[in-house]
Symmetry: C2
Subunit: 372 residues, 2 copies
Amino acid sequence: VSVDDERLARITLMRIAEPDDVELSAALSSGAADVVARLRAGSLPIKAAEACRRRLDGYDPLRDLELADASGARLVCPGDPEWPTQLDDLGLRGPFGLWVRGETDLRRAAVRSISVVGARAATGYGQTVATELAAGVAERGFAVVSGAAYGIDSAAHRGALAVAGVTVAVLACGVDVPYPRAHAALLCRIAADGCVVSELAPGVTPSRHRFLVRNRLIAALSAGTVVVEAGLRSGAGRTAEDALGLCRVLMGIPGPVTSVVSSGVHRMIREGGAILVTNVAEVIEAVGDIGADLAPVQRGPAALLDSLPGECRRVFDALPARRPADVLELARESGFGAEQVIAALGQLSALGLVERVDGGWRISRGMRRAGA
Amino acid sequence: VSVDDERLARITLMRIAEPDDVELSAALSSGAADVVARLRAGSLPIKAAEACRRRLDGYDPLRDLELADASGARLVCPGDPEWPTQLDDLGLRGPFGLWVRGETDLRRAAVRSISVVGARAATGYGQTVATELAAGVAERGFAVVSGAAYGIDSAAHRGALAVAGVTVAVLACGVDVPYPRAHAALLCRIAADGCVVSELAPGVTPSRHRFLVRNRLIAALSAGTVVVEAGLRSGAGRTAEDALGLCRVLMGIPGPVTSVVSSGVHRMIREGGAILVTNVAEVIEAVGDIGADLAPVQRGPAALLDSLPGECRRVFDALPARRPADVLELARESGFGAEQVIAALGQLSALGLVERVDGGWRISRGMRRAGA
């Protein structure tokens, strides 16, 4: 089984299975290609087997690869340099893979990120607070993760974009589907400066189940989730539960007790799951507690570099200050072979020190700002 | 030393000393009359001795008794049947005595009460919430304790009055001083249906120190304090600290994070001292936890009566259903002597089963409602 077969098998699973299928995930220990083969043969005893097998009829994963490619999306699989390792905390609830559209390295963005979610039927108050909060955390070098929905989600994305920050939209539909349609331009802007992400196959439309399971990705990607407004029964409430289940920091922005879209947030705070936060500093303080290991950049770039193996340091030093370099140039400069360079870049990328761009690799935005 | 001398000595201390003087309180173990005598002789070694001695020159406590009487106020001292025993939790910070103006028995009101306090510079939102909350808890049989100030305090009193509930105003000036002047009519209404209370001598004007120490009485009188709006530095913050120090339940009503008068409340919730509450039911649930022993009426009036000594029960049964009766009538009806009747009334009053009114004693409002 070659690597390419494994990737094609994961593309296949993203098309034929529903996300968050723990039975299917459990079978993955024998490899995705094996799982697909057993599904095709009807020999995998899981509940979704028959539905998956039907969808396999005449299916060609290369077609999804072409569709993704046409929308500028790349495949990121568990273990890839760009894979956000936080998602591994989902265990058997983790995605089979991700389609990622956008200029930013997803792993680098997620390693230092905060999710901001809330009601679609948000008030002016909630949207203002979400925008300002997102802008504030983005200015402090955190990517803002949300779901591109109406209301709080889009206010959060726009806040990050307004300060030229990084923002990540996790969709409950294909990465190439402009949903909601009114946010087509917003999604383009997010992809330009950040990432648009989905675990669903290209072209897939959203459904209630897909919205709900999508929320676990928003909760898992970041160190903490801020709920800005939420009614008593809301999708944001599901994200909040997921965040708590994953030992992420859950935060809530209070509002008037007379506002129905603040009542869900107040309940989260009352029941002890959510920390009441009122501004950017309190949010960053809260994620700082457990974020230290997720966000090593906070320890200071110089100290971080010193702690790295010598070959990482040498590859980092080989990067030009203001332009990208490709692997061959870095191999030449550092004196290492291409494989050693690629391994070092993987580590540097995981720590947010370098990022992949058109034309190769460069020192990441945060590091350039820090003057490293 | 007769009882009357002790009472006159307490009236004297309320005039010549500042409240919340723990040195002076510590000396009270030998009796108030003894303390006054030693102050007069210059033989009490406390910091305030000289100031107290100067104020004793030509002072006659009967004059204060006349002043209080003229404004319809009565003296309530520690150990009196009307003394709210919750104040004993203040220890050496307890008041020397209280001047009480109003139709309601203070002990009965306080035994089942909730304090509602907050900013003078309250918003329309805060005042609306305070009024509705106070009305709601008053309808559930709780007296509403507050400080008669502008903003949240007066909104709380008005809420209780609007539903013909009991409300208690604790003043930072003499019980006969209409402060703030714009609240003169409000204070009259509070006295008519509830109590106006002060530990200061008649005619005394408010000062910053008096406002601050007054807050400990508001916190101590009730099972729980709700802060509706408060800036980061506020008198309500002091009341909140007092409430926590006294192991009372501290509650906070959240508001928009953009409102400066909600920031103090949010801090109380963030720092773990205050429970976030959003409505009447949550407030009552919160005080219910520790309020069980403070509010025996919650156990049900019939059960409570059954648990009383036989003479209490007989005196209670001797009370007419719809009008007051005096001690002589009750003695005749119950077959007890006047002193036994008075002792029984003291116990019944402490439990909130009877109340003192013009013309004698009657079954308390709460008990009449309960159909006992």
